[in-house]
């Protein structure tokens, strides 16, 4: 399942993701400033990282809006914005 996580809703967003062994966390908007301590895949929206001048740690992958849309239709999505 995908968890779209923005600040300031990271607490409930990440807490929910942690309960899911197949969690895919997508950091979005100001959420790209986060570096969540979580098992599983973590993406950050590419445009949001670029405009903020954020350098992603190696374990976080950039993702385009188009890829995000594909992902959303492949599995379910929970939004925490």
């Amino acid at each position: 399942m995908i968890y779209l996580v923005d600040k300031p809703h990271e607490d409930i967003g990440l807490r929910t993701a942690r309960g899911d062994p197949e969690a895919i966390v997508v950091l979005i908007q100001d959420g790209v400033f986060l570096d969540p301590d979580i098992e599983g895949t973590v993406y950050a929206v590419e445009r949001d990282t670029e405009v903020r001048g954020v350098t992603l740690p190696p374990e976080i992958e950039p993702i385009t809006y188009g890829e995000l849309v594909d992902l959303v239709f492949e599995t379910e999505v929970k939004t925490f914005l």
Partner: protein, 123 residues
């Protein structure tokens, strides 16, 4: 083809949600999906016609105003509703300030989008 529902509650100048909704909506349309947007609360300010803000153009976020970007979505086939109670509360004149392609709706329209869309994103 799948169907994406988007619930938009933020104003054009107070959060980035309007812009994210635009980008996700545009990408979904480009991929041939159906897109339905329900603007609720301050989200009804987003698609208002005639927004002008030359001073903030630069290369920035408002180089194209929400007016323009949402008109692009409508032109590309997005379906959009604004909550009529919300426009009344905000004194938004739906006749003159909301594009004709947008339906002035109510919560049953939101309930329908949730029922019909394959996925719903809440911004």
């Amino acid at each position: 083809m799948s169907h994406l529902g988007i619930v938009l509650t933020g104003s054009p100048f107070d959060s980035e949600r309007w812009r994210t909704a635009y980008e996700i909506g545009r990408s979904a349309l480009e991929r041939g999906h159906e897109v339905s947007i329900f603007a609720y609360l301050d989200g009804v300010y987003v698609p208002m016609t005639d927004q002008h803000f030359e001073e903030a153009a630069a290369d920035g976020l408002y180089q194209k105003m929400p007016t323009k970007l949402y008109q692009e979505l409508l032109d590309s086939g997005a379906e959009m509703f604004v909550c009529g109670l919300c426009t009344d509360a905000r004194s938004v004149d739906t006749e003159s300030q909301i594009p004709d392609e947008i339906t002035v709706g109510l919560l049953p329209d939101l309930a329908d989008i949730i029922g019909e869309a394959d996925r719903v994103i809440s911004l």
